[in-house]
Amino acid sequence: MIEIEDLTVRYRHKDGFFTALEDINLTIDDGDICAVIGPSGCGKSTLLYVLSGIIKDYEGKVLIDGRDVDPAGQRIGLILQDYGLLPWRTVYDNALLGLKIKDGGKGDIKYVRYIMEQLGLDGLAGRYPGQISGGQRQRVAIARSFILRPDILLMDEPFSALDAITREETQDIFLKIWDRYKVSTIIVTHSIEEAIYLGRRIVILSPSPGRIVKVMDNPLFGMDDLRLKNEFYMMEMEIRKIIKGEGPK
């Protein structure tokens, strides 16, 4: 479970502060997927930095499973917006970085191979990040977070660099793996469609400084052939209205 209470984050710079997030209150139950959507610069990445222990200087309370955020003690799977791969490690070593740090490199090799294969990375294991495409790099970052088998999973626009078909395939792989392990997940996205497809709940943030505009339960989550259904478009229109500030608050 992730509990966020009155979270405000300010960045310090030369002449004062910049408020990136303001008064965020949010609870994510065990095994929930929460999609966070909001305009560029509204503080989505900042929220994940707080939850993954990268930003430690904030106001308010943030608890993971009842404890303060502690990356050393907890298993936090984080997919960074810029993938966060180490240029000097091969695709394979990058994918196993989490295991290396957390468990000294020991892990379920079968599962590793399964993930690598599912994400179409099995032929790239020996290459360096500089020798693969942007979409492949993004899939390495996804593989790393899955292989870690985290307690919570934080994904920052994890499918943004993939083409439409690969994206849908990768989203389904994510749902399949999520369904098996039911990890509490926050997925940041700028795509309304993706939010409806992947989020059991959808959190809409306001433009900077990011505040929560609305938290919606998503009745469409998990529906078969969702993308073909009429409700899908209705929901998309509704969210679009809220983001534009016209809808019910």
Partner: protein
């Protein structure tokens, strides 16, 4: 490290020699002999006269560089990685860096004698500061985002050092050793003109005194070749230590 790149070295050498030939042809003085006669001379005296000097020079410069790197790199990395250490050591380094240490040669020779150690220490004294400062700045220049994935994994300081700090700064460390090599050749030459009967510096100056310009140029060529060989060794190191760069 492709074959093509090595062909370009030959290319460059040919251009230099051609240029040299033209100048010697135009100026036509004994102080600039034609490269052909120098090469013939070099072939004749290399084994008998130059090899022993080349061996001494190679040893001194290699040891000087290696010790500078072995001591300088860890100090620089530690300074870059530990702000507290940096704030203590940086003033000392900045104070010592600009001192013309070459002028300390008499002092160093007085303390360490006329043997090999004083020459090696002289090279170290000058090269090590470049290496310390470059290594430190390499670490400081690592983008903070690079650390994010390891931070989110709760990695310890040693993990972060091994996974990020060391590999991220390796290319710049090797570059600083390359730059140091150029300096080391000059320092070596200078130190070998005092208190020794061995080394390329001695050989070149001695030939000059004896007005044997063919020998002198042969020595200069060999000293250059020594520098080039060390350069190539650093290239090879980069190839082995930074495989992601290719």
């Amino acid at each position: 490290m492709s074959l093509k790149r090595y062909l370009t070295y030959f290319y460059a050498a040919a251009v230099v020699v051609a240029f040299w030939y033209i100048i010697s042809f135009i100026i036509h003085l004994p102080i600039i002999p034609s490269p052909i006669s120098v090469f013939i001379n070099l072939y004749g005296i290399f084994m008998s006269k130059i090899l022993v000097h080349a061996g001494f020079s190679l040893y001194r410069i290699f040891m000087g560089l290696m010790l500078s790197a072995l001591i300088g790199v860890p100090i620089g990395l530690a300074m870059g990685y530990t702000p507290h250490l940096d704030s203590i050591l940086s003033p000392v380094v900045y104070l010592l860096y600009p001192i013309p240490k070459i002028a300390l040669l008499p002092v160093v020779m007085l303390i360490f004698g006329l043997g090999e150690s004083s020459k090696i220490i002289m090279i170290m004294l000058i090269v090590i500061f470049q290496i310390i400062v470059s290594s430190r700045d390499a670490v400081k220049g690592i983008q903070k985002e690079t650390y994010f994935s390891l931070k989110s994994l709760g990695a310890g300081r040693m993990d972060i050092f091994r996974e990020i700090v060391l590999p991220a700064s390796m290319p710049e460390i090797l570059t600083s050793i390359r730059v140091g090599l150029g300096t080391a050749v000059s320092v070596l030459f200078f130190t070998e003109t005092f208190g020794t009967k061995y080394g390329m510096g001695y050989f070149i100056m001695d030939s000059w005194m004896r007005v044997n310009y063919l020998d002198m140029y042969s020595g200069i060529i060999i000293l250059s070749v020594i520098g080039l060989c060390l350069f190539l060794i650093i290239d090879l190191l980069e190839f082995l230590l930074c495989p992601w760069k290719h």
